[in-house]
Amino acid sequence: MTTAPVILDRAAIDAMIGVIEGRGHRVVGPVVRSGAVVLGDLSSTADLPVGISDEQTPGRYRLTARDDEALFGYVVGPSSAKPFLHATGVPVWQGERTADGSFATRKPEAPTPVAFIGIRPCDLAAIGIQDKVFLNGYRDGVYGDRREGVFSVVVNCVEPGGTCFCTSMGTGPRASKGYDIAVTEVIDDEEHWFLAEPGSDAGQEVLAQLGAAPASDDERVRVENLLVDAADRMGRGLDTEGLPEAIKASMESPRWDEIAKRCMACANCTLVCPTCFCATVEDETDLAGLEAQRVRRWDSCFNEEFSYIHGGSLRPSTYARYRQWLTHKLSTWVDQFGEMGCVGCGRCITWCPVGIDITVEAAALAAAAKEATHV
């Protein structure tokens, strides 16, 4: 496999979408819906949020107009790969009563494999994290059936957003693995082009069909500089050094009480998070009792029933639920999966209706824990 980068223009990106679709994928990419960039079905670059950017601060997201025709001049919106791979509202099995009075079940058909165009490095890293959750050792059917055959065109971030901190989490602004093609967009008054690098044989095959020219040394250096520069312009930061231990030492911190005054336990943070994987199953029957199905839906550790066992909820207070969530993300996830459950995408900060900032809370907890050990 050759890994030489090539130069594409917008027409070549359109051609690439066509080639990928021709390989039997459902092509999905960023589109604008209800005032936000979300992932939706894509047939050409005309469907992309062309000339659109975004402003993100805690609890606030706004689309803005750019003064150019950039195809990828924004960062992540509320949706990630999660709705497509860790799908919600899908049957795990379906069944019906048969003529002889017994019950026959069937496994739902696997959907067409998705190709993500313009997924970001943080979200690609999130897929890697969910792979460990759903496919390591035990293969989860709902996830596995959707994950197989996925094709990813990742777009490296040259303009980080206001709540981004991927540099802190080591997931961006440049994708390092897990993609089929990595694209970096370069745009200014004079030029508009994309540097595309294959990351897999499939990616190489797609790029080979576009007849693109190899990138020059100058073009490669320019992209390199843009990405190095982007790493220094993150809207947020999180010092992860010693953080899992500091969080564990903070179980009785008064900070949780203070957060619980602001937190509404609405679950938005967990549902926009590209790594949060909690789900519930619900059994459904028809009125006649002839058909039944078990449906899997997203759940959240912020929901009371999520930790319900005989006799009551294990985490009846918002205090306990926020503590569980942050502790899992930044500390116990490491014990469980060998890495943190956070990719630094900033969604939980932007999409919290009251703007609770995980980087601020984690830093405050860590600072207090550090102080306590020095006393």
Partner: protein
């Protein structure tokens, strides 16, 4: 007499919208009629047969001495009593009287108010008798109604969540209207069940399913006021169909007290 479970529908102070949800269940209505004996449903049939009933759906709030008496009879005749809608579960929009003197209203509305025998409050059914299950909403969701009937018929637990509307918005992929468009939304403190209907049409949730399981109204209303919503408008938003539901009531009273 059939061996099918016997269903009854009762109405108290209400607009009939919730019981209409049953008639509005379209495809499911025939299946319901097939699965249960509709023993008492005045809005659907004159063929009213006496109790006891296996399942009673109760719509409306308790606003008169006669209501208060009658709900006890309904309870006595019902094995499983399900209250349906904001009136029956929280007192409804007519619970706005609870902040006023109802005699003032009757003096404006009726030529001879001395004949009006009404209670000073509109209260939910659960304040009067034991309730087995509550279906929220103004009106209720017909999907949830069918779900409860189906679950009762097959002896399983109904899938009726008590978490926030936000969960439904995220499950269906609606970008948050409050975060992305600055539209005040009651979704974070309102119980799911509508499938995130209003935000899907870029409108804020107006709380018709009432308080969710762990309401933090102070946080949400603080954010609304930060966004520029006047405190009188926050009070008004909290005092609609579920005004008298405790968490909404306490929140609106707290803000009204500061005005």
């Amino acid at each position: 007499m059939s061996d099918k479970p016997r269903l009854a529908v009762f109405k108290f102070a209400s607009c009939d919208g919730c019981q209409l949800s049953l008639l509005d269940a379209e495809d499911h209505l025939l299946a319901v009629a097939e699965a249960v004996e509709i023993a008492n449903f005045a809005e659907a049939s004159r063929d009213i047969t006496p109790g006891p009933y296996d399942v009673s759906l109760v719509e409306g709030s308790i606003t008169t001495p006669h209501d208060a008496e009658r709900i006890r009879e309904v309870r006595r005749d019902s094995k499983f009593l399900v209250t349906i809608g904001a009136c029956a579960t929280a007192g409804g929009i007519q619970a706005l009287r609870n902040w006023k003197d109802v005699r003032d209203f009757t003096s404006y509305v009726y030529a001879n108010p001395q004949y009006i025998e009404t209670l000073s409050t509109s209260t939910p059914v659960k304040n009067h008798v034991e309730v087995d299950f509550e279906l929220r909403g103004c009106p209720i969701s017909k999907e949830q109604l069918i779900e409860v009937v189906s679950a009762l018929l097959h002896g399983r637990r109904p899938n009726i969540p008590s978490f926030s509307v936000c969960v439904e918005c995220k499950r269906r992929g609606t970008p948050c209207v409050m975060v992305a468009q600055g539209i005040p939304c009651l979704g974070p403190i309102t119980q799911a069940g509508c499938n995130g209907l209003c935000p899907a049409y870029e409108r804020g949730c107006f709380g018709c399913f009432g308080p969710m399981e762990s309401v933090n109204a102070a946080s949400l209303t603080g954010k609304w006021m930060e966004m520029g919503v006047k405190s009188s408008d926050v009070v008004r938003a909290l005092r609609t169909y579920n005004a008298y539901a405790e968490p909404f009531r306490e929140a609106s009273d707290a803000i009204a007290a500061t005005e």
